[in-house]
């Protein structure tokens, strides 16, 4: 229904948008470059959140960046049959999902390396990393059963 102004999109990654992180957002993408999922841990109350400078649970400013375990569960998902943004036309159908992390927060991401028709709420997933231009970002793939 609405579009985004070009200035918010950043550089072009083969037609797909590439984020331009600012400030504390860089921790998220820096961690991804190292193969990790960054969370903010509050030293005052222990609550983990997604890249904040103030703990959203107790509002302490005494926070640090930690690595998440890298696992999660599909909380909800949708299969896009029409590209949600320019650049994704060749990817349809693809999955956008909310992953619930064992540390608490939920993150929006793609579920990759599987048939979109196989994705289910409750599915166990693990962290994988994709890179577009120079920006790395987290995605998730089904946990392989041994």
């Amino acid at each position: 229904m609405t579009s985004t102004s070009p200035s918010a999109l950043g550089a072009s990654g083969g037609g797909k948008p590439v984020p331009v992180p600012r400030g504390e957002e860089r921790a998220w993408f820096d961690a991804a470059r190292d193969g990790k999922l960054a969370l903010t841990r509050c030293r005052a109350c222990g609550v983990r959140s997604v890249v904040r400078v103030v703990c959203p649970a107790c509002w302490s400013t005494d926070v640090e960046t930690v690595a998440a375990r890298g696992t999660g569960v599909v909380y909800s998902y949708t299969v896009l049959h029409r590209a949600g943004r320019p650049g994704f036309e060749a990817d349809v159908p693809y999955v956008v999902a909310l992953i619930e992390l064992p540390e608490g927060p939920r993150v929006m991401t793609n579920v990759v390396d599987c048939d979109p028709a196989d994705v289910r709420i409750g599915m166990l997933v693990r962290l994988v990393i994709d890179t577009r231009d120079d920006i790395s970002f987290p995605q998730f793939a089904p946990e392989r059963q041994e």
Binding site: M1, Y75, T109, N110
Partner: protein
């Protein structure tokens, strides 16, 4: 006297809508305001409070007021999404009760249909969500619907019933954008956009504007037809769907009870509802969150036909955003239709003997929320 008891809705009007390439967003706001003033029996020049927002204008109120050459002493350009115009009712009441203004206009205009394919909004996507190709706002509503189906047994057929029911109402509405009746099968056969949302689960994309004039009770007594606001509330639960604590519960669960408590009435007292139907899941969840039924019963209510013309729970009596008109931010149209139903001027789609109307809007991806309960003065 409470804040809301000091004000009344004294005039409402829409601009030309549907396809209106002859009007700009400001032109629509101006046309609707002039028509609403005519409806109220006042002069546009008496307006001394402006409550306006669009996705087009950085300085919305200044652009709007300049167009009409009015010089209000109070401005409010709150932006909590498509429900903002319902929230403005409460803001205007507060400003009027505080003596900041006496005659407030709430106005909106959008050329979303005529803009097709062009940039129409400054909506930003959170940096962390940008890489994933989600469709905004469709994919967020899709994940809400998916979770609701998982937890509460709502079915694609029940979602489709919402589009079917609202189209029934639109078929009674001369100026509705889509008037041809549709079936559940039509909805399910329409292209899948972002599962489980099909094309016909989505609102229309139209041009349109509207205006609502709110004034002091003293002035309202001298005006032709007035409608009271018995209760009103606003709230929010998140900005991005990733921060929505429970995907099956919206902030309507807060604003609904607050509005009912202020009005001193219950859901059973409401004669007609206008609910923000951006996607078919929305009014189902709103019925549940506002207290009209338990979780999981919203879909079955729609499937029962109770919300259609002649039913005992009439919802979106002009066809709503799904069929009547949806120019980006719907709630100005929900308000206008609620007022018209209370005033009893809706012709073939008029619900008999309306004393109480509820209007509820969402903002963003089921993020903002505003509820109002209207009554005859």
């Amino acid at each position: 006297m409470s804040t809301l008891e000091q004000i009344a809705i004294v005039g409402v009007a829409e601009s030309d809508h549907g396809r209106a390439p002859h009007l700009s967003p400001l032109g629509m706001m101006a046309q609707a305001t002039a028509r609403a003033a005519e409806d109220a029996g006042i002069s546009v020049g008496e307006i001394d409070g402006a409550f306006v927002i669009t996705p087009y204008h950085h300085l919305t109120s200044l652009s709007f007021c300049e167009t009409l050459q009015i010089f209000p002493r109070y401005h409010d350009t709150t932006q909590i999404g498509g429900c903002t115009f319902i929230a403005f009712l409460r803001h205007a009441a507060a400003a009027i009760a505080a003596g900041m203004c006496e005659v407030a206009v709430i106005a909106y205009g959008s050329t979303q249909r005529s803009d097709a394919g062009k940039l129409v909004s400054a909506t930003e996507i959170p940096t962390l969500e940008l890489p994933y190709g989600a469709s905004y706002p469709i994919s967020s509503f899709a994940m809400i619907a998916q979770r609701h189906m998982h937890e509460h047994g709502t079915t694609p057929e029940q979602l489709a019933e919402v589009a079917v029911a609202h189209r029934h109402w639109a078929s009674l509405t001369d100026d509705a954008f889509y008037r041809e009746p549709i079936t559940v099968e039509d909805v399910l056969a329409s292209p899948m956009i972002s599962s489980p949302i099909h094309r016909l689960d989505c609102c229309a994309v139209t041009d349109g504007g509207g205006a609502v004039i709110v004034a002091t009770r003293d002035r309202a007594r001298h005006l032709r037809r007035s409608v009271s606001v018995l209760g009103a509330a606003e709230g929010y639960s998140h900005r991005s769907v990733s921060a929505m604590a429970d995907l099956t519960v919206s902030a309507a669960a807060t604003t609904g009870p607050a509005a009912f408590a202020e009005a001193g009435v219950t859901p059973a007292d409401i004669d007609v509802l206008q609910l923000y139907d951006a996607f078919t899941i929305a009014p189902i969840m709103m019925l549940e969150d506002l207290g009209f039924c338990e979780k999981g019963e919203g879909g079955p209510i729609y499937a029962s036909g109770r919300t259609r013309p002649g039913g005992d729970l009439p919802i979106n009596t002009n066809g709503g955003g799904l069929s009547y008109c949806h120019p980006g931010m719907l709630s100005i149209f929900l308000l206008i239709e609620a007022v018209r139903q209370v005033r009893g001027e809706c012709g073939t789609r008029q619900v008999p003997d309306v004393e109480l109307a509820l209007v509820h809007g969402l903002g963003g991806v089921f993020a903002g929320a505003a509820t109002a309960i209207l009554a005859r003065c």
